[in-house]
């Protein structure tokens, strides 16, 4: 379809100039500073910065080069994953689709969007790099400070091109993204757990470099480590794949642009948002192409009538799923919940389950660190990380799913059905992750010389936590798309933050078996109360909001 835009080449160039004018002196301003300040305003980057500090501390304190290299490779991989997901999010920018209303051709809009995404991504990486570099320099005063500073900065900055590369892979092979989190998180989470096991720790001490080599990020870390150690090494050859990766970056970037362009082009064509000053040939070609596309891809009235009369459209697309777990979930839902699911759940997402296992494995790793006898500080830190992580993974998936609440509340569907649907979804995810968590907790307890049942109990409690937090997540998800009377969004966020904090603290205390059970029970009760009040609260909110014109093109 690229030929469509050829007649308007001069027009496109003019539009690009208009975009540049709109952006003003964008490139000449200290845009990185602005981008950094913008992204550091988000709690995600703050959490990342905190992780960076902590990882840097751990890496500097780690005496074993093998383990350190493997850990650094893991850290870099984690950041790449985060950035890659960030850019993917930018690519699938539904909210940015509104840009198509601007009198710009969609190619230019895509360029603009990707550029914004890149700027944000660079800011994102810079914030991480600053964190690593600052920490490394503080921690290594008197001992190769420059090297550590550089290493921290490089780790942060390398996230950008590698993130773009991974994103390109995801565009080319969609299945990569489905299992990406599980692959990266679970693999290295096991590494973090197993390194505490003495024989394996010894093995890692000797062969940690091989583990690092297993990850693309390790190809960068290993030569860098050699350089820091002042060793001549043939491992510079590992950079060759990185160079190749860099060479393919333009290709990946092109694919990314093409994917975004297709989306924008479709919207652009179908919405008929053709600039007034576009050449007539260009306009005619768009209309012709649209008519041809419709004729080629849409069934005719007779076929549609047959399809309706066959009642196929009344069968839920979620019915009779292929997987065993999904089939059990489908049976578990009530008829009302199945209709709600049809509105809110877009297909069975195996990635969710895979991610659940990955996140559970990561929690196991941090649970092991929590129970390690290194220091009280590391225990508290690990506990906080586990708790925060669980809170995040519990809350985040609902935010997007509940975007359909605006539609659902128009239907005669009870909010309780929506809440129950989400609770069941959480319970299934946790059930899937439960064996991994219990096993991980038991193994970790065994490694640390603690009673095995304590480890198993902790694993069970970690699995239980999202289920406990589910009502809160549901409440937040319901409140998110609506606005309270007489209150601002900031007020709502503060309320949610306070409740989250209470929950996280209670989760943290769960790691102390007896007190944890007590606080866990209290937390469960608290959330039940919040849910009960929340539904009434939502009713109060609901009455004051406008119906979103979500489908208005």
């Amino acid at each position: 379809m690229t030929h469509l835009l050829q007649p308007g080449t001069a027009f496109l160039q003019a539009a690009r100039r208009r975009i540049t004018a709109l952006l003003g002196a964008y490139p000449r301003r200290p845009w990185i500073v602005r981008a950094v300040s913008r992204v550091t305003g988000s709690w995600v980057i703050l959490a990342l910065l905190f992780l960076g500090f902590r990882f840097s501390h751990w890496m500097v304190a780690e005496k074993s080069p093998g383990i350190r290299n493997a850990g650094l490779a893991f850290l870099l991989q984690l950041l790449i994953l985060a950035f890659s997901g960030h850019l993917s999010g930018a690519r699938n920018h539904r909210h940015h689709a509104a840009c198509s209303w601007w009198p710009f051709p969609e190619e230019a809009v895509v360029d603009l969007l990707l550029r914004q995404a890149l700027v944000r991504g660079i800011g994102f990486a810079c914030a991480g790099a600053v964190g690593f570099a600052a920490t490394a320099s503080v921690l290594s005063v008197g001992s190769r400070p420059l090297g550590w500073v550089l290493q921290g900065a490089v780790i942060g900055l390398w996230v950008v091109p590698l993130g773009v590369l991974f994103d390109g892979l995801n565009i080319r092979w969609r299945w990569v993204s489905r299992y990406q989190a599980a692959i990266f998180f679970s693999g290295m989470a096991y590494f973090l757990v197993l390194r505490r096991f003495p024989p394996l720790g010894l093995w890692l001490d000797q062969h940690g470099d091989a583990v690092a080599l297993a990850m693309p990020s390790g190809w960068l870390i290993l030569p860098w480590a050699d350089w820091l150690e002042g060793r001549a090494s043939i491992r510079w050859g590992y950079l060759a794949p990185m160079v190749l990766a860099l060479l393919t970056l333009p290709l990946a970037w092109r694919q990314l642009r093409a994917a975004g362009r297709f989306r924008e082009r479709t919207l652009f064509l179908l919405w008929g948002e053709i600039p007034e000053n576009a050449p007539q040939g260009f306009v005619d070609q768009i209309h012709t192409s649209l008519a041809e596309a419709q004729a080629a891809h849409l069934p005719g009235p007779t076929a549609n009538a047959d399809a309706i009369l066959s009642r196929a459209f009344l069968v839920s697309p979620l019915a009779d799923p292929p997987g065993w777990v999904q089939r059990q979930v489908w049976r578990w839902w009530t008829p009302e919940q199945r209709i709600a699911a049809e509105c809110m759940v877009r297909g069975w997402n195996r990635r969710g389950l895979a991610d659940g296992i990955g996140w559970a494995s990561m929690a196991c790793a941090w649970g092991a660190l929590l129970m390690s006898k290194r220091s009280e500080e590391s225990q508290w830190f690990a506990g906080a990380v586990v708790s925060g992580m669980i809170a995040i993974i519990t809350l985040v998936p609902w935010l997007s799913a509940f975007s359909q609440v605006g539609v659902i509340r128009m239907f005669p569907i009870r909010l309780q059905a929506v809440a129950a649907l989400r609770w069941k979804d959480t319970a299934v995810r946790c059930l899937v992750a439960l064996p991994v968590l219990v096993l991980g907790g038991t193994v970790a307890a065994g490694i640390n010389g603690d009673p095995l049942e304590v480890g198993a109990l902790i694993g069970f409690q970690v699995a239980l936590t999202p289920v406990v937090l589910s009502p809160l997540a549901t409440l937040y998800g319901l409140l998110n798309p609506v606005r309270l009377r007489g209150t601002s969004g900031a007020f709502l966020k503060v309320v949610v933050a306070v409740v989250c904090l209470i929950n996280i603290l209670s989760v943290l205390l769960q790691f102390l078996p007896l007190l944890g059970l007590i606080t866990g029970t209290l937390c469960l009760g608290l959330n039940a109360v919040i849910l009960h009040c929340g539904n009434r609260w939502f009713d109060a909110c609901r009455i004051d909001t406008d119906i979103p014109a979500s489908t208005m093109p």
Binding site: P301, N304, L309, I339, R485, T551
Partner: protein, 246 residues
């Protein structure tokens, strides 16, 4: 369906959308809700649909107090807003399927009725198109097709005559509103076009800043709003004058 509102108040912040509105509707009536922008027309329809909860007052259907979680009652009411919200990213047919299921109207004969309405509304060829690729008028017509297939006891239509529908859609709407009333259905629609109200409705409900200023038969409305009429309420007369000749 007998409908009764008693002393319904509704405020949005400091502004009063509905101020002690009371009215009673009998089955088979077609009621036009008239008023300027911000008069409270949409709020009234939303209160009637349960989408908006009144601050004070009661809404009763067949002497049954209306509650948002009364699904049985809500399935007898269909609210069609001026921008019908649809599930984004799926086809028009998938949206219609969900609507039929939600309103428990997916029984025998439903597909045949749906095909019939889609044909009449000139939508059948678009059934498999993603809903977000349709125009506003097409989206409204597809929601109207769902309403006609479900055939609820109470039709609540927000600005149906300014919904972007083509003449064919408007023609189907007009004829089906009268046919529905003949079958005993109650139809309440908001509009700012006085002539349309006079042609389509039995009764008129005139709102002004949330207050119900007039709730009379359409004949009375003609007298009160006529050029040579004798308006006892100058506000209503001025408003009707505006609506007649904006």
């Amino acid at each position: 369906m007998h409908l009764e509102l008693s002393r319904v108040f509704k405020t949005y912040g400091r502004s009063r959308a509905l101020d002690s509105v009371s009215m009673s509707l009998e089955p088979g009536q077609v009621v036009a809700v008239l008023g300027a922008n911000g008069a409270g027309k949409s709020t009234l329809l939303r209160v009637l649909s349960g989408l908006v909860k009144a601050d004070h007052g009661e809404v009763r259907y067949d002497d049954r107090l209306f509650r948002h979680d009364d699904l049985e009652l809500r399935r007898r009411i269909f609210f069609l807003p001026d921008f019908p919200p649809m599930l984004d990213g799926v086809s028009m047919l998938a949206n219609l399927g969900v609507l039929l299921k939600v309103y428990a109207s997916d029984g025998p004969g439903a597909p045949e009725r749906l095909v019939d309405w889609l044909q009449k509304l000139d939508l059948l060829q678009l059934a498999e198109k993603p809903i977000n690729t349709l125009s506003r008028g097409q989206i409204y017509k597809s929601a109207l097709a769902a309403l006609l297939t479900i055939d609820p006891e109470l039709w609540l239509l927000d600005e149906p005559l300014a919904s972007g529908m083509d003449p064919r859609g408007l023609s189907v709407l007009r004829s089906e509103v009268r046919a529905a009333a003949a079958r005993g259905r109650t139809v309440v629609f908001s509009t700012q076009i006085l002539e349309a109200a006079e042609r389509l409705a039995d009764r008129a409900c005139v709102l002004h800043r949330g207050e119900l200023r007039l709730f009379e038969s359409i004949e009375t409305l003609r007298v009160r709003g006529g050029a040579d009429g004798d308006p006892s309420d100058p506000v209503v007369a001025a408003l009707l004058d505006q609506l007649r000749d904006p």
